[in-house]
Amino acid sequence: MSDSRATIAFVGTPNCGKSSLFNALTGMRQKVGNFPGVTVAPKASYVGDERNGRRLLDLPGIYSLAPKTNDEQLTIAALKGEQSNLPRPDAVLFVIDGSNLEKSLFLYAQFARLGLPTLLAVTMIDAVKAGGGALDDIALERALGLKVKCVVGHKGVGLPDVRASLLNSDDFTVPPADGIPGDDIDAQFSWARKIAARVARSSGPDKRSRAIDRYVLHPFIGPAIFTLVMLLFFQSIFTWATPLMDGIESLMGQLAVLVEYGVAPGLLQNFLTKGIIGGVGSVLVFLPQILILYLFITLLEDFGYLARAAFLVDRLMGVFGLQGRSFIPLLGSYACAIPGIMSARIIPSEKDRLTTILIAPLMTCSARLPVYVLLIAAFVPDRLVAGLLSLQGIILLALYVLAALAGLLIARILKSTLLRGDSLPFLLELPPYRRPSLRNVGLAMMQRAGEFLRSAGTIILAMSIALWALSEYPRADQLAAVDSIEAESLQLEESALGSIGKLIQPLFEPIGFDWKVSIGVLGSFAAREVFVSVMGQMYSVDVSESDESLRTVLQRSISLPAALSILAFYVFALQCMSTIAVMRRETSSWKWPIFAFAYTFVLAYGAAWATYTICSALI
């Protein structure tokens, strides 16, 4: 790295508030969460100016200098200067969790001997005070022989002070190691407890969390709450998003009308209405749902519920050969498999980690949502069951549950065949409950919305344009002979796209896909949402002529067994190039992504075939 600015690494125990502080200091949008292991990759940012600036590095949290997981390994290697892609830090901001001094000081006992110039920052002081405890930072300074700064990252208290210190090398000193026991963990922990008792009056375990956990982790009430949370989650996706979706839909309709007025009929008008609005617009409609999904997951995470959920489901996961820790990456995969697969780094056992990565694509990510919602809205009647739950919401939940069960079964099979071996033990820390920060939740949603819009603006736009061109050329003959609607569908059939569709359609014939759907499925191997835009383009012929939405057109054009078959296919198929790329990176080989792609395809095809055959026989 040609950068001459000194690097300061942020080091601390998991969930001690490093990332919150890092974000508050740099204004960066590093994802923060309330469970250990949110930061699984290092993040860099800068403070100060060119002349007197520092490069800040947020590293994954560690419990000790003896790594047990991949993310800990990374931090420790970086601190020792053994991580090839990271510079050895010139100094360290050691973050101490004020509400859990013993653990932080134990890590400090091991860390001090690395001999890196260090400044201490104590976080969570607000929680200590709220619980009736106290912490004497002057006494801590004296006990450790280092400068100590107290901060409340999310409230901004103490930040200017820390920022000034970061730019002042004099505030960083090499920790005096005298008095700190060497190699022995028991002795180091006794030392940590002694110092903690000297400098602070413990407020004890967080009383509010205790009180909440009495219900949330209750043997009967706990699972009931868990089920309720999950149910609410899926209901909200449908009910809350509908008005917003209708709004976007009508906006797109007006835009199309505007183009039809403003642009002379011909190729350009056709390109704008069918290629752009029909393709990209039909995907944009699903933005509200994706935002609600992220809102929910981020809230649960910030609140501290995810770790509790891991506790609640550990027994169930054990049945499938996994452990509660796998639940966190898997739930994350419901938003998107990519961060989910990355957060599998918190799993200590390599075989468990691989298993989790391989089944992560089966967890229903938000990209499937547009496909599900479109087909469910078209084919499942909008009515209430038991006067309360929407039938559409129930079907959606069923698809999610189906995929999750299949994933767990696959995990079971993998763990007893390819990835056989003892699971490492399950050990998880339950963080105290915290009030979700609106800023953090907002940032997570904005980030995801940005990614979604970017994908709509790039990959989906490119696919839309390509599909539009393929559908308009070569021009069909005898267009003049028939009326305009017939001419358009004739054009589509005789176009290059029509030929491709008909060419591959035999492959999908047994599962009930016609050639139009086949093209949609083919296109969605780039990204799942493409399916919706393809359908939007293919059927925009009819849509622009009448006042119908894509939903009603699909109702007429696709049979119910075929629609269910498409749903079954999307539940299992791994249609996402980015996921395959990140799997390749996280497993350092092509073997696993190819395996994942192959097994999910077989599953998808098999499930679609069974669905189609059974439904055709029944209906």
């Binding site: 922990f189 407890r193 969390s209 043997p219 506790f311 550990d314 399950f426 050990l427 339950l430 105290p432």
Partner: protein, 72 residues
């Protein structure tokens, strides 16, 4: 661990064998002589929640078989 009554305090006397997991348990504070409380147990022999210092930990009962404990 799963047979321990909840709400009671115990002391860690040591470990019958050492491996990387017992090392992690000690790094989380379950060192010789340390006292912890069993807070609750998940049903069907599920994980056990314990309180040590200011940390709340969740472990599977079977995984802590190497830990030797006595009532505090």
């Amino acid at each position: 661990m799963t047979s321990l009554p909840t709400g009671q305090r115990f002391r860690v006397c040591g470990y019958s064998r050492h491996n990387s997991f017992t090392e992690r348990l000690r790094e989380m504070g379950l060192t010789r002589g340390a006292q912890f409380t069993v807070v609750r147990k998940a049903p069907f022999n599920g994980p056990v929640e314990i309180q040590i210092d200011n940390s709340t930990l969740v472990v599977r009962g079977a995984d802590t078989a190497l830990m030797l404990i006595e009532p505090a």
